[in-house]
């Protein structure tokens, strides 16, 4: 379809160019500020021509916030959440779609409800659980009188204690415990034809074999999309890592940014702060650029 709309075309291009500038400006400013020395970065307005101190500032930010270690933590954390989600939600969706058993609807709905309450709003009690992850089970034993029974007959006082603070497990598990991925897989599994299951059955494949040899290879696209989304989401988490990692050695790169905020008083070291920001935002930016297709597809599919 060819149309001549010269005026509108100019308007469109201007709007897009403006949008482009606004979208890119912060990246440019961060990169340019990271290349100035202390005096230049504090000039008003900041010179937009890059200075010559880029590597210097990067090194300084890297050592000051111990970013090598922190990026490694972030990476383990984000990969753990992405991997955990991909595995756990595939298993659950498989159970919900391909089996008939009593309580299946109950499981479905109990998972569905978790979509409604993000971690941020139930942060205080979740923190208490992470401090002693066996606490819920201890409380159940106490209330049902099993603690008393066991103490009476076995002579052991049951006291379940297992803290997850300052550990990768504590960072990862609570973020895996939501429903996002489960529904992505469920929708996909429902599109698989019934004949596939029948054929597999006829060839003598049991449910476990069917899962590993048919369902998993077919869901490669879903795995890629979900893993991309979850990796970014976990990498960008802030509140949960901030609470769970009280020891600096377990902090993630994103929470470590707080150490780079220039102090009040003295000349603010924005060049170091921006160099640190650049290092922390670079990995996710690379993931978005490289995995663009999966990123967009995953976003649209998981939120539906």
């Amino acid at each position: 379809m060819i149309e001549r709309t010269p005026v509108l075309d100019v308007v469109t291009q201007v709007v897009l160019a403006l949008g482009f500038v606004v979208a890119v400006l912060p990246f440019v400013v961060v990169a340019v500020a990271a290349s100035h020395d202390l005096r230049d970065v504090n000039l008003v307005p900041m010179p937009l021509i890059p200075g010559g101190h880029f590597l210097e500032n990067l090194t300084e930010a890297w050592t000051r916030a111990d970013l090598g270690h922190k990026l490694f933590n972030s990476f383990v954390f984000a990969a753990g959440v992405a991997g955990g989600k991909v595995i756990v939600s595939a298993l659950t969706a498989y159970a919900i779609v391909f089996f008939r058993f009593p309580g299946r609807q109950l499981i479905f709905w109990s998972i569905f409800v978790t979509l409604m309450l993000p971690l941020e709003v139930r942060i205080v009690p979740t923190y208490a659980v992470a401090a002693n992850v066996l606490g819920p089970y201890q409380a159940i034993l106490d209330v049902t009188g099993l603690t008393w029974l066991i103490e009476r007959f076995a002579g052991v006082h049951v006291d379940l204690q297992f803290g997850l603070l300052n550990s990768y497990t504590g960072l990862i598990l609570p973020l895996v415990a939501t429903a996002t991925g489960t529904f992505l897989y469920r929708q996909f599994f429902l599109t698989l034809p019934d004949e596939l299951v029948e054929a597999a059955k006829m060839d003598g494949a049991g449910p476990i074999r069917f899962f590993f040899d048919m369902v998993l290879p077919l869901s490669r696209n879903n795995v890629a999309a979900l893993a991309t989304i979850m990796f970014l989401w976990a990498w960008n988490q802030y509140l949960w890592p901030l609470l769970v990692t009280t020891e600096p050695s377990h902090a993630t790169a994103v929470t470590e940014l707080k150490q780079l905020i220039p102090n009040v008083g003295g000349i603010p070291e924005w060049n170091i702060a921006m160099a640190g920001t650049l290092i922390v935002m670079a990995p996710t930016l690379v993931v978005v650029i490289v995995m663009q297709r999966w990123f967009v597809r995953g976003l649209i599919a998981t939120e539906k």
């Binding site: 291009q13 499981i107 993000p118 049991g206 640190g276 967009v296």
Partner: protein, 294 residues
Amino acid sequence: MEKRATYRQWWIGIGFAIPQIVLIFTFFYWPAGQAVYWSLTLQQPWGGGNIWVGLDNFREILSDPNYWASVWRSIVFAGFSTAIAMICALLLAVCVDRELTGSRLYRVVLIWPYGIAAPALALAFRFMLAPQAGLIAFVNDVWPGIWDPGLNGTDAMISVIAAFSWKYVGYDFIFFLSALQSIPRSHIEAAALDGAGVLRRLVDIQLPLLTPTVFFLLVIDITESFQDSFGIVDIMTAGGPARATELMVYKIYFDGFRGLDYSGAAAQSIILMILIMGLTILQFRFIERRVHYK
């Protein structure tokens, strides 16, 4: 939708579901229940058990002007940032959807902001909007003292809203563009044959077909403005100056972990949970409607 052909070994099915059940019980249902329990009791921070106080915590919260101020700020924040993000995103998506020269580049670049961690972009915006350095400090040379997010509450709120909307323009853009491109080409071409120009087609065909996406994004953006704002506020203003940017989630964090008032924080969490659940239920109703368009 149900499958006809399934497996009968139900114990294997339950086995597959067990990891998720254990996880959501431990990290979702138990804490959510715990929040309800705490909100109805008064807990001593140094141990020593809980005292049942019924709805006293809620009464205390709801009669606290500081709490209502944080609710009001959250509404202002949600309203402005959602409006800015959605309007900009819609405009950009409509422009990219015209597929003129360069639209492939724009399509790639405009989604970058959503990939950036909220605290990282917050630090970047803190610098750009700083009163003595960065990009807009020059206004203070012209009119001394006109811009200072560190001292002026309104300026601080504007900074936080700017940072949040910048990120969510990228997010909304993805959804608007995907919705625009799923409109069948034949609709547009038929309208063009009938003599409808670009703007007429936009108003009469594309925008009406986008309403489900608008409702969907409205709910998501508002919900995210409650959660994803935490990192931005904590890095840019730490709730200040003088609580001017203390949003609801920030107050929960502050009261719970800095003030060690678990009961008060739990009561606030419950109120926020009810709010977000209400929004989500609203969203599911609109999702139902969205399906009909396809």
